[in-house]
């Protein structure tokens, strides 16, 4: 039968493509920020900071369009869940972009300080993990893949472990105040990456809601959560 709301459904499709592209943008920003730290590349760090305006502009555009869609089209059922998920994921991705900027700025603040290869290696590993998580969450969104979305909390475990060990690596630099200064800043980088991992889990929760209609937190800071 013919789709009686084709214009509206075309717009929903366009919004979904926008959010997937924004996921790519945010993931790339984190990847470049981590790369800048690991390879001490200030130009790359500046590129991440400059590039955030594009992410913010997209965020505002998607936000405006979802609001208009709610006001003008009163979506229901799967359409409503998609609009709601886009609103949430949009915010998570904008925050992810901000974390990339934080990481890039932390590099620029410390670019002249001595550092440690061990800690840089740890940050590289965390970066790979969280960018992988973000891409998996967005892939689950694109494919409506519940199973993949449910894998995100497990993927977050090593990130949390590395983050908890980060300050110990920084303390190893205590003999040299300049290196320690760098290490303490890198501890903040680690924290920013841990937050990106959490944002990816939050996006996966939205995917779960989109598919099942039931919103549940995959992780809870104050309680153990059992997943199917």
């Amino acid at each position: 039968m013919p789709d009686t709301r084709r214009g509206f459904h075309d717009e929903l499709g366009a919004l979904q493509r926008e959010i997937l592209e924004m996921g790519e943008q945010a993931g790339n920003a984190v990847q470049h920020a981590v790369h800048a730290v690991v390879f001490r590349n200030s130009e790359e760090a500046q590129g991440v900071i400059d590039g955030d305006d594009a992410i913010d502009a997209r965020y505002l555009d998607i936000d405006q369009r979802t609001l208009e869609t709610l006001a003008l089209q009163t979506p229901v059922a799967a359409d409503l869940r998609l609009v709601s998920a886009i609103i949430h994921v949009n915010l998570h991705l904008e925050r992810t972009g901000d974390q990339a900027v934080n990481i890039a700025k932390l590099h620029l603040l410390t670019e002249d300080l001595p550092g440690s290869d061990a800690m840089r290696e740890q940050i590289r590993e965390m970066g790979d993990l969280v960018v992988g998580m973000l891409r998996s969450a967005m892939e689950a969104f694109d494919r409506r893949d519940l199973e993949l979305s449910l894998r995100l909390p497990k993927m977050d475990d090593p990130v949390d472990r590395l983050n908890r060990a980060s300050h110990l690596e920084a303390l190893k630099l205590a003999d040299d105040p300049s290196a320690l200064d760098w290490g303490l800043h890198m501890n903040l980088v680690s924290r920013a990456l841990e937050r990106v991992g959490d944002q990816a889990v939050d996006i996966a929760e939205q995917v779960g809601f989109l598919i099942t209609g039931e919103f549940r937190e995959f992780t809870d800071a104050s309680h153990e959560v059992e997943l199917p």
Binding site: D3, V76, A77, A78, E214
Partner: protein, 251 residues
């Protein structure tokens, strides 16, 4: 508690079957919306709930409709009594145009037998208040009903239906001929009425169903596709056909 229990209900116009094996329970004091594309059997279904369907030549019903546990199609049951307890409001406001507003409100009551004038007027006022019309007409109760606006006329018809103190009010697209403000007024009224009456409303306007109904029934080709709490039908319907209909993927 279920006030209306429909089981294995089928209906025909001549040889054309328009309802197929409908099973449905309607709770007392709830508002139920019936949605579905044109010709799906929505209006026929509610007309079967107070034996209006059989008024059409060649129309026929099979199955059971229990009202408070009693089968309304039992041969011993008087359809007039059923229609008093299960009232109906139609798409197009149909007040008696030359009768006064008050006479319109009590027109159904008068048919039930003689009542002292004071009683009639008291019940007329009560019905006009319940229909949310009293404040607008109390100073001109002697004016002809036909002089009211469309939205007021529809509320007058609702008052007429309420004056006989029914238990259930069936509404067949009661707002589809009204302007937006009158439509919202009727919707507001439905949410007030469902505290005292059981309301079943047929509507083409899905947002109206979403706004006023506790339960929503989706019909297609004379069958019930899905019946559930309205918030579920409009957020996570179970049947793909319901999903496709409410999201406008077919209409």
């Amino acid at each position: 508690m279920r006030e209306i229990d429909v089981s294995s209900l089928s209906a025909w116009f001549g040889s054309k079957q328009v309802l197929r094996d409908i099973n449905l329970g309607i709770e007392r004091g709830s508002a139920t919306a019936i949605i579905g594309p044109s010709g799906c059997g929505k209006s026929t279904l509610i007309r079967c709930l107070n034996r209006m369907h059989e008024e059409v030549r060649g129309a026929r019903v099979e199955g059971k409709v229990l009202f408070d546990g009693e089968d309304i199609y039992d041969p011993r049951v008087d359809p007039v009594v059923i229609r008093r307890r299960i009232g109906m409001v139609f798409q197009k406001p149909n007040p008696f145009p030359t009768m006064s507003i008050m006479e319109n409100a009590v027109a159904g009551l008068k048919l039930l037998g003689r009542l002292p004038k004071a009683d009639l007027e008291e019940r007329g006022e009560r019905a006009l208040r319940a229909a949310g019309l009293w404040e607008e007409v109390k100073d001109r109760l002697g004016d002809p009903g036909g002089r009211l606006s469309g939205g007021q006329q529809q509320r007058l018809c609702i008052a007429r239906a309420l004056a006989v103190e029914p238990d259930v009010l069936l509404m067949d697209e009661p707002a589809s001929a009204l302007d937006p403000a009158s439509t919202l007024r009727i919707e507001e009224l439905v949410t007030e009425l469902k505290d005292r009456y059981t309301v079943v409303i047929v509507t083409h306007n899905m947002q109206q169903a979403a706004r006023v109904a506790d339960w929503t029934l989706f019909m297609l080709y004379g069958e019930v596709v899905e019946f559930g709490p309205t918030n579920k039908i409009f957020t996570t319907p179970e049947d793909q056909r319901t999903e496709d209909y409410v999201t406008g993927r077919f209409g």
